[in-house]
Symmetry: C2
Subunit: 303 residues, 2 copies
């Protein structure tokens, strides 16, 4: 056994595509594959299209890369139950309480660990990205929806049902727009790609200056509340909307954060773009696998 | 040595009074003392008035109660640095970066552990109060100021500078009142006793119905943001303002929380009054001592 040969299979489940990757224990992606989500498929057929890109990389791991697969890590769009025992991604209607973990364990005969995609991204950015080496930070995604993950005292927060970090439903506009969750004025109801399209009548890929600025302001406001609440001074922001809006968005978010994070511990807090780009979700999924293996090892030592 | 005889000395440092108590390992307060904070005293004189009520209980522990003191626990108004190495309570101007921990260690020759008063209260309410046995909850104090503590996955959150849980600076009114922290529209700037007095021109002990209702609404809004963010469904609320406003406050807070906590994991979240009353701060300080002793024991085992 040569640990330098070990790799994990990373699986990213999104609303529009599913992706797989082979990741070394150092976080290097040595191979990847992806497939669009076909919304006309049944639950079982969709799993079939996933196992297509799983099998492809499992085969290449040994045949092409001469590597040994030791685990599977999953980052999935929510909602999920703990460790992706079941997944019900909002935009994948075929999967409702779909038992992804047992299906993947059965199919791969490997240990499977999973978490929400935004939490996986927090692990990735803390490991190799914009929050590298930081013990306390928020990572968030501003995309079709808005999600997040929080690392505090060096630990990714889970919460009772594994949803901690979900900044999308922090209230930023009292009496604001009705949110999909049933509340009003949530960050997701005001600043997500879906909200922007509904408010402006234009896709978030064609924003006005005002839209980019306002979205930054709302994100900055939510981040300020979270930094003040949780003794944080760094927010790493990814997602197609945030990264697409670029400097106008980030400058506006930073200005708002500067105005509202004024406590000794939160003043000087920074908002910074996610650094891992399109590798982030897969590295995150891989990091979830490694965290799961460490937890299993610890549990075995205690036993 | 008979552990049934062990007690800890609990010390509560507030803006208007300081209190001490003898607490058994089961959380029973068997004796207590208090002294008002005299704002004309120097730092050293103020410590002298604290050691007066410390010495009184140290003496009674052995002479009167036949108990053995094993540690000191401190809950202090903030800001503080980790483990009350230094304390600078906003309303005790004589103490700025006052080295409370070393002073108390020197004076008592006992291990001293400390934390913020609101976090201590969270420990107390989770141990013996309204959140008994809960692994995930928020505890908060609505009094002259607004503070809080958060227990997640069974652990009281600390954060980088030990201030995690400080719900007082979650934004509830964008472009609202200027806050003492320099921001605007913080919960503390809108719903604290100090804010209520400034807004209404009346002390918070003489509230109108509208004031009680509005304060409840603002607290409910902040709690909803925190429950959505951190996967929580319980907030325990204490403090003279909240408890003084009573049912009108709590009903209004609950109605607002119901409207805004609508996710699978946050819907049904409850706001409930703190249950330990005026014993809460001392039991909290005692719990801080016990947590410190457990941490020390763990560190020694590892060593």
């Amino acid at each position: 056994v040569d640990p330098a040969r070990d790799v994990v299979l990373a699986v990213d489940i999104g609303g529009t595509k599913m992706a797989t990757g082979l990741m070394t224990l150092q976080g290097e992606l040595i191979d990847r594959a992806q497939v669009p989500v076909d919304h006309d498929l049944s639950a079982q057929e969709l799993f079939g299209s996933l196992t297509g890109i799983v099998d492809q990389l499992v085969e290449r791991a040994t045949d092409h890369h001469d590597r040994r697969l030791i685990a599977v890590g999953v980052g999935s769009a929510g909602p999920i139950t703990r460790n992706v025992e079941t997944v019900s991604p909002v935009n994948i209607t075929a999967w409702r309480d779909y038992p992804l973990r047992s299906k993947l364990m059965e199919h791969t005969a490997l240990p499977v660990h999973g978490d929400l995609d935004a939490k996986a991204l927090a692990l990735a950015e803390g490991w190799l990205g914009a929050a590298q080496g930081r013990q306390n930070f928020l990572a968030m995604v501003v995309s079709t929806g808005v999600g997040g993950g929080i690392v505090l005292d060096g630990q990714l927060l889970d919460g009772a049902t594994t949803n901690a970090g979900h900044i999308g439903h922090v209230i930023v506009e009292p009496n604001g727009r009705r949110c999909g969750c049933g509340s009003r004025g949530c960050l997701e109801a005001e600043a997500s790609g879906r909200a922007i399209e509904a408010i402006t009548g234009r896709p978030p890929t064609e924003p006005s200056y005002e839209t980019m600025q306002r979205t930054g302001e709302l994100v900055g406001r939510a981040v300020a509340s979270v930094c003040n609440l949780l003794d944080l001074d760094l927010a790493v922001v990814g997602g197609s909307v945030a990264l697409g809006f670029g400097a106008t968005f980030f400058n506006s978010a930073q200005t708002t954060l500067d105005q509202h994070a004024r406590l000794d511990y939160s003043s000087g807090a920074r908002i910074t773009p996610a650094r891992l780009g399109d590798r982030g979700p897969l590295i995150g999924a891989g990091a979830v696998a490694l965290r799961g293996l460490r937890r299993d090892a610890r549990a075995n030592r205690v036993r």
